[in-house]
């Protein structure tokens, strides 16, 4: 594993911590045993090595006689820093050129450029945060809606870790008791009551099931809820997209088959991001080859959707026709919202007796709020009891494995297998729970997680 090797951790690392490009200021972070000494060697101002932690000092960064910038240097003396190591943050002017020059100077003076996520890796290795908290840091940075922010924040602050730790502790106690029995194997005692074990495992499995259940929602709020706008040509799908996102995003015309490529736009209701996907209208005998390819794409998108807005022209569609059209979605595991569009063109009020129906005019922008409400409800209904929400596929898989191992424990207990085998199965469940918080890790796992971070974090 080339990515993380032990001696790397003795290096002092540096990186630009703020976003790239021109800004008023930029921050360069330096962390490691030698951080303060190395910066001090190029800092003209107070002697940084003699200053207290958590203080800020104005000075110049200079390469010999050449001043690179006037900066503010903020000191964090180990272990009171993000990484747990000596850290200096240099706040300089927001010129990429200057930042490049400073990083080069720091490297010349003995720093190494940080790998992606290396500051947070060090924080993890120095037990400043556990693995799921470290992962939440990346989620927090990527958060772009109220819900994704809330779940990442909760995870970073340890809400999830706490639940996992509690489950593990109870299981560890049990495993220890069972292992104790092994020492007294000849006396045939049972320190660990089997019925208590069954109860504990069942309780923990129920909790895991809840967390697993939350993943669908968690994944949706992290990545946005794929919401396909489908319907016949000229039903007003693109107009609806434009109205919802409040701009002329999709080309609109009276000509059936205007939309060919699928068009995606994000759109937030009540803190939840919906990824609206406008599609080519569904019809047989399409105008041309390109439109046919578009329709094929529509069916692909429908397969991947969590929500389908089925838009139809209420002024020309009969109740029977609608019933018939909706059957094509019968076997899909989606929330289906039929949208009766063009109510402004209707001669008389319609009576479509289908569930979840919303009537609106995308063109006149009437009834839009009702649709938003319906979308919001559709997702909230799925919401989970537990306040903790899984958003990370890795956690989801580890929980699944833990659940399976616990199944094995139950099977074992009922089959009266030996304590040795039982303890083995419990240890397996513990292993998978430990994977989440990082009690159990491999270099590969760490490399895989942290290499996806941005540099400077």
């Amino acid at each position: 594993m080339a990515y993380y090797i032990k001696q790397d951790l003795n290096d002092t690392i540096c990186a630009l911590a703020t976003a790239g490009g021109v800004g008023a200021i930029g921050v360069i972070r330096v962390s490691g045993k030698q951080a303060i000494q190395i910066v001090d060697a190029v800092f003209k101002g107070k002697r940084l090595t003699q200053q207290a932690s958590h203080t800020v000092h104005f000075g110049k960064i200079a390469d010999g006689p050449k001043v690179i910038d006037e900066v503010l240097a903020t000191l964090f003396v180990e272990p009171k820093s993000y990484t747990g190591e000596n850290t200096v943050e240099l706040s300089c002017h927001g010129s990429p050129y200057i930042q490049q020059q400073m990083l080069q100077l720091l490297v010349n003076k003995g720093c190494r450029l940080a790998k992606p996520g290396e500051f947070t890796l060090r924080a993890f290795l120095n037990k400043k945060l556990d693995l799921s908290q470290a992962e939440a840091v990346a989620d927090l940075i990527a958060s772009n809606s109220e819900e994704s922010h809330r779940t990442a924040m909760m995870q970073m602050r340890g809400g999830f870790s706490y639940q996992i730790a509690e489950m593990r502790e109870r299981l560890i106690n049990f495993a220890s008791l069972i292992e104790l029995e092994l020492d007294f194997a000849e006396e045939d005692v049972e320190f660990a009551q089997r019925d208590e074990l069954i109860q504990l495992v069942t309780t923990i499995q129920a909790l895991i099931a809840e967390l697993l259940q939350s993943f669908k929602y968690g994944n949706a709020i992290k990545n946005g809820i794929p919401t396909v706008i489908a319907g016949k040509p000229n039903a007003g799908k693109s107009t609806l997209l434009n109205t919802l996102v409040n701009e002329e995003r999709a080309l609109v015309s009276d000509i059936a088959g205007t939309t060919r490529d699928t068009i995606e736009e994000a759109f937030v209701i009540d803190g939840i991001t919906f990824r609206l996907i406008d599609t080519a209208g569904i019809r047989t005998g399409a105008g041309d080859k390109i439109e046919e390819m578009g329709i094929e794409r529509t069916f692909e998108k429908i397969q991947q959707a969590s929500v389908i807005l089925y838009v139809f022209d209420a002024s020309i569609t009969t109740a029977d026709e609608l019933q018939e059209e909706l059957t094509q979605f019968n076997n899909l595991n989606v929330v289906l919202i039929p949208v009766a569009n063009k109510t402004d063109l209707q001669q008389q009020p319609s009576s479509f007796a289908v569930p979840n129906l919303v009537s609106l005019s995308a063109k006149e922008k009437t009834g839009i709020n009702q649709l938003k409400l319906r979308l919001s409800e559709a997702i909230r209904k799925d919401e989970v009891k537990n306040d903790i929400i899984i958003t990370n596929l890795r956690h989801y898989e580890a929980l699944q494995h833990a659940h399976e191992s616990l199944d094995q424990v139950l099977v074992g207990v009922n089959a009266h297998i030996t304590g040795e085998l039982l303890a083995f199965d419990i240890r397996k469940a513990l292993f998978h729970l430990g994977e989440i918080t990082g009690e159990v890790t491999t270099d590969d796992l760490l490399a895989n997680i942290f290499s996806k971070f941005c540099i400077g974090k």
Copy 2:
């Protein structure tokens, strides 16, 4: 003037100070009388109002029960800050969503979003830096090469201001002496020796002339040196561009007239940015209308160039033909560098007796270093004696006006005009010099300067 009104300065302002987009961290800057109190009201941690200047504190920013982020808050108590006001810098996670939430919260609690450059404007108004230094801050942020960085840094650190201030002081002394004469007008005394005035004005004018002279170079290093690659079709101009910038930037083919649009690429030699401009080959009777438009564009670009690389095919061009072709540049005020290309195809070494000639093969990448050296020399030759270099058009114009006013002073002295009129002309020169450093300003001028800054600076 809507942009800067007096009472604005009593507001506490906030803005994202780091570049937009996702990064590891972002910094929000809050400045003004109430900065520390306002942040303290949403900060969960130590009471910021009770902490010393230049200290850093970990805590949470919360909107009631809702935690927006974990942050580091750095305190600067007035007047020891960039703006001279109370300032708090909040280092938060680099998520645009979080930054938006925090700014919104701060605004709800009584801050106002900062206008572009408003932090630096306040620094200027609080006499933390003079106007030319403030302008250098923006130049420094925009600097992208060693030379533009060096001149901006020198200006920000006051090298230029110092020269201006010195000139002003000497002129002010003289003006005062002359004005003193006016009080003793009946006695017909001369406190201010006219020959000394002539000497002083002449010295100052020489210095101003030097600074004015430096502007051509200063402007070039700030904006890059416009360097046009011209020549006949198929001389290898685009290949030369690609070789110089080391990528396949321009489309290259054997077909004469491949390049139609002019293509620009920046390229740094010895810390100086050259803006390479590849142009359509020059020929009469071009292939089509678009190519003709391209050739027209070529001549426009040649007019604006500082350097022309005239590329020709050395394997088919005779010395006489070259002489003839170069005559078209005779009346231009440019550095002309004839480039004998395709030396790899030459049967025998050529002898083109023209100055500045460089022989190379753009395709084989031989002779390129010689061309770079020639480019670098061509610019260095223009370089100025004075270490201070003018890069700002506003300063250039103010210096021109000061120079003109001083001309008037000389004319006046020689014509033995009254002390009153003489003092008036000197005051005019002082006014223009004062414009540079901001001793003399108008709201319009300030608005004009600072509105071009980025927000957060």
